[in-house]
């Protein structure tokens, strides 16, 4: 198959052999699990259990309340001990609501376990998508975007190709590699299910050429009759080839439009782990309650891949990987390029936790002082989105948010290539994140301001209308009064009549003999 190249990218030492040397370990059930209510892109789930409740494995404990959201399930059986604020994997080191589960060690499924569907080929894609949604599956390559949303057909877009992303281009991470080596048949079954769901006529399974074992395992697992339907493709190792848009360009030579989606090219792309999770949900009725995590780095004694329940504290995983080496001072969730350092190893594994990377000061020395940008253009050379990172930096620093968008800020995928090659140690990606946040913030403010203005204008209009109506009422009243004023002649006449009548009466009385009282007065 003809492969293509994307602009830029970096050849990085992959450091994957460290963690793939040891076999996959399935971790036991820890005493306590902390399952965050929000583990994905989108709205937070609503907790549907109470402290003290008993839960069974796979029971839904967090309910999606929004379209872009993913259910959360109990990873094992036990008791809900509380809904607590607990440190979560987030660059801010802040705490967020987590469901604390005290496990009972039985790992018992309940009555409400979803029905296994070995006959998925007979099922309607709609009900399969519903299953994916129920199972709370999110993109497991790290972004954690709800998969059901991505599987939904888009009006007017026919999907012909499913791309399974097994590139795993970031150094150190090997969880997909391990999964492909150990479960190739299950992943391929998942790919068939997804292809059935989206109506794809072919599956391109892309794996970087630095994973020969995984490539062999997959190739061997594709039955001969399916060789045209599922193609396992070895792609050159180059960071960030695992980015969805980069991968599609490598495979098809076409670029996903900036404001568009792969569906615009008739393609859809899912991560290896996600595809396997979909297969587990459909075939076994198992929601997304565990995943493989690479625990690695120079700060770990026995780097390896571990299958762990969602909610397992990082510290337990590190323990299972032989513990820390001395002087470890940085623990990163994700890879070295896009991952973020966590402040505490009490944080739990979430659906998007692909890797834990522990380093010592000698491995990752604190960055030197930030120097001025000398416009060397290395960042331009390596940018996979073909941006001008040095110009973006300039505009971000000057808070020129119009210019920075004009220069394509929102086409930045935050891969970190530019920051890695910057000779001036400028944390470029941080500047872009800052600019994005500011622009989103301003957009929100603008929307708020628009709403407020609308409200104000409405109120103003209402007041004006009321004023107008009041004036009209007054005018009507005045008019009515004026009308009455035109009547006084009658009134006066009536009064005069009355006076006249009284006078006449008086006169008549005067001609009559006065009454006795009058006389007496006189």
């Amino acid at each position: 198959m003809q492969l293509h190249r994307f602009h830029g990218g970096l050849k990085l030492p992959d450091h994957k052999a460290e963690s793939t040397a040891r076999p996959l370990l399935t971790m036991g059930v820890p005493k306590f699990l902390y399952v965050p209510l929000s583990q994905h892109i989108g709205a937070q789930t609503e907790c549907v259990v109470q402290p003290g409740d008993r839960v069974t494995k796979g029971q839904r404990i967090g309910q999606a309340k929004d379209y872009i959201c993913a259910n959360v399930h109990a990873p094992t059986s036990g008791w809900i001990r509380g809904i607590v604020d607990h440190p979560v994997p987030h660059p801010s080191c802040l705490s967020a609501p987590c469901i604390q589960i005290e496990t009972d060690g039985h790992d018992q499924w309940g009555e409400d376990r979803m029905e296994p569907w070995p006959d998925w080929r007979e099922r309607d894609p709609r009900s399969l998508r519903e299953r994916v949604r129920d199972a709370g599956i999110v993109g497991m390559g790290g972004a954690a975007f709800p998969t059901a949303v991505k599987l939904n057909p888009r009006p007017g877009k026919r999907i012909h190709t499913l791309v399974v992303n097994g590139a795993e281009c970031e150094p150190y991470i090997s969880c997909d590699d391990m999964l492909m080596r150990t479960h190739p048949a299950a992943i391929l079954e998942g790919a068939r299910i997804v292809a059935h769901m989206v109506g794809a006529q072919r599956v391109l399974f892309a794996v970087e050429d630095n994973k020969p074992e995984a490539l062999r395992a997959l190739t061997d697992a594709v039955p001969g009759a399916e060789r045209d339907f599922i193609r396992v493709i070895s792609i050159p190792s180059l960071y960030p080839t695992g980015g969805e848009r980069q991968l599609i360009q490598v495979l098809s030579g076409r670029e996903v439009p900036s404001a568009g989606l792969p569906a615009d090219l008739g393609m859809v792309c899912h991560n290896t782990g996600t595809v396997k999770a979909i297969r587990d949900a459909v075939l076994h009725g198992q929601p997304l309650i565990s995943r493989i995590v690479t625990v690695t780095g120079p700060g770990i004694r026995e780097p390896r891949n571990i299958e762990a329940l969602i909610g397992t504290p990082f510290a337990d995983l590190v323990e299972a990987a032989g513990g820390y080496r001395p002087r470890v001072d940085r623990l990163v969730m994700g890879g070295p390029m896009m991952g973020f350092a966590v402040g505490d190893d009490a944080v739990p594994v979430i659906k998007g936790t692909n890797c834990l990377l522990a380093t010592r000061p000698e491995d990752t020395p604190p960055p030197g002082p930030v120097m001025p940008c000398i416009r060397c253009g290395e960042c331009t050379r390596v940018c996979p989105a073909n941006l001008l990172p040095q110009q973006l930096y300039w505009f971000a620093k000057g808070k020129d948010f119009d210019a920075i968008q004009d220069y394509g800020l929102f086409d930045c995928i935050e891969c970190g290539c530019c920051a890695h090659v910057c000779p001036s140690n400028i944390p470029l990606v941080q500047y872009y994140r800052f600019a994005k946040q500011e622009i989103w913030g301003r957009e929100k403010d603008r929307q708020k301001a628009d709403l407020a203005r609308e409200r104000f204008e409405f109120r103003q209009e209402r007041q004006d209308r009321e004023e107008r109506e009041k004036a009209e009422r007054l005018a009507r009243k005045k008019a009515a009064l004026a009308k009455k004023d035109s009547e006084p002649t009658d009134k006066k006449a009536a009064i005069e009549d009355a006076i006249e009548r009284a006078r006449a009466k008086k006169a008549a009385q005067a001609t009559e003999p006065p009454p006795d009282r009058e006389r007496a007065d006189n």
Partner: protein, 347 residues
């Protein structure tokens, strides 16, 4: 267990400004040694004194601006500016010329504009042009290899000449200097000679005067090493030398008696050192790939125009400064097509 947090990437960075600048300095060594071999100790004296002055002015300005002095000196950019300035001026240039040139380069062209990363003009070239237009006599005295050989100026005599501005007793400027190839070509053409007559002179090698060719070759070697090390990109040197060669070629084909050959232009004067070491100064050059090509083309053409019809024998310095002026405009109009956008810049 608690951890330190910091931003990605969590991987040892591959570059630093200081390392980049030092690689450029290493790449200058062979060419500088070749020049010293041909033109005597004066080249080294120039380099040492100019670098010393440049670093001194840098330290002074950084201190005045209340920035960390040692950390800033560590970027080696002042050393590079001083060195390039020193190679531009003739050996045996009086010390006060060096002092004025480096002062302009570092104080005015660099720090008054905001220091490293903010100067719109190439500091070394600003320094050179200032002394070139202010002290034309001092700047036109290029020693000849034979003159230097015959006079056999020792290192100390050279230093003395530089410091005092006077040759040791019994020596004469006319005896040890001769016109540089560009000067010679220019003057001879004005005097009515043809190009062929000039280049037939025994001091000429294949394309230009032998010593300039050798210095050019060694600077070219350093430049190729910089390309290989990714310190510079190919855009500026290739486009500048190509455009210089092409425009020279057009006129040469048209009238080879009146116009020197493309090879003569490429291997004379500051063309090669300019293409690889001066025009590639990232701060003052264009920064987009297409912008850099246009930037190089502009320098190549302007260099030829100034050399052929202008008032100075060489035009690289002026061409670089002129193109520095348009670099921001070039950047503005040569933005690369962003991934996923159509050519007209819309998604």
């Amino acid at each position: 267990m608690r951890f330190r947090t910091c931003t990605s990437p969590h991987i040892v960075p591959g570059h630093s400004v200081g390392r980049l600048m030092r690689q450029v300095l290493y790449a200058l060594v062979p060419g500088t040694l070749a020049m010293t071999w041909f033109f005597g100790w004066g080249v080294l004296v120039n380099v040492v004194l100019s670098v010393l002055f440049a670093v001194m002015f840098e330290a002074l300005m950084v201190a005045l601006r209340r920035r960390p002095v040692m950390a800033t000196l560590g970027d080696s950019s002042a050393v590079l500016a001083g060195w390039l300035f020193a190679l531009a001026v003739p050996p045996l240039t009086p010390v006060w010329v060096l002092l004025i040139g480096t002062a302009f380069a570092i104080v005015v062209a660099k720090h008054l504009y905001g220091g490293l990363g903010y100067n719109p003009f190439n500091p070394a070239m600003v320094g050179y042009v200032v002394v070139l237009v202010s002290f034309p006599r001092e700047l036109s005295l290029w020693p000849s290899p034979e003159g230097i050989m015959e006079a056999s100026l020792t290192f100390w005599q050279t230093l003395q000449t530089t410091l005092t501005g006077r040759l040791p007793d019994g020596m004469d400027w006319d005896a040890i200097t001769r016109a540089s190839p560009l000067d010679m070509m220019r003057d001879s053409l004005v005097a009515g000679q043809t190009v062929t007559e000039v280049t037939r002179s025994p001091i000429f090698g294949s394309f230009s005067q032998t010593e300039w060719e050798w210095a050019g070759n060694l600077f070219l070697l350093g430049g190729i090493w910089l390309l290989y090390r990714h310190v510079i990109t190919w855009h500026i040197p290739v486009s500048m030398l190509l455009s210089l060669a092409i425009i020279a070629g057009v006129f040469w084909v048209f009238d080879p008696d009146q116009f020197a050959s493309p090879a003569f232009h490429v291997f004379s004067g500051a063309a090669i050192i300019g293409a690889f070491f001066i025009a590639t100064d990232p701060v003052s050059a264009a920064t987009t790939p297409r912008g850099r090509i246009l930037f190089g083309v502009g320098i190549g053409i302007l260099t030829y125009v100034i050399r052929t019809w202008g008032g100075y024998p060489d035009g690289v310095a002026f061409a670089v400064l002129l193109m520095n002026m348009v670099a921001p405009t070039l950047d503005h109009y040569t933005r690369p097509r962003i991934f996923g956008h159509s050519r007209d810049g819309h998604g």
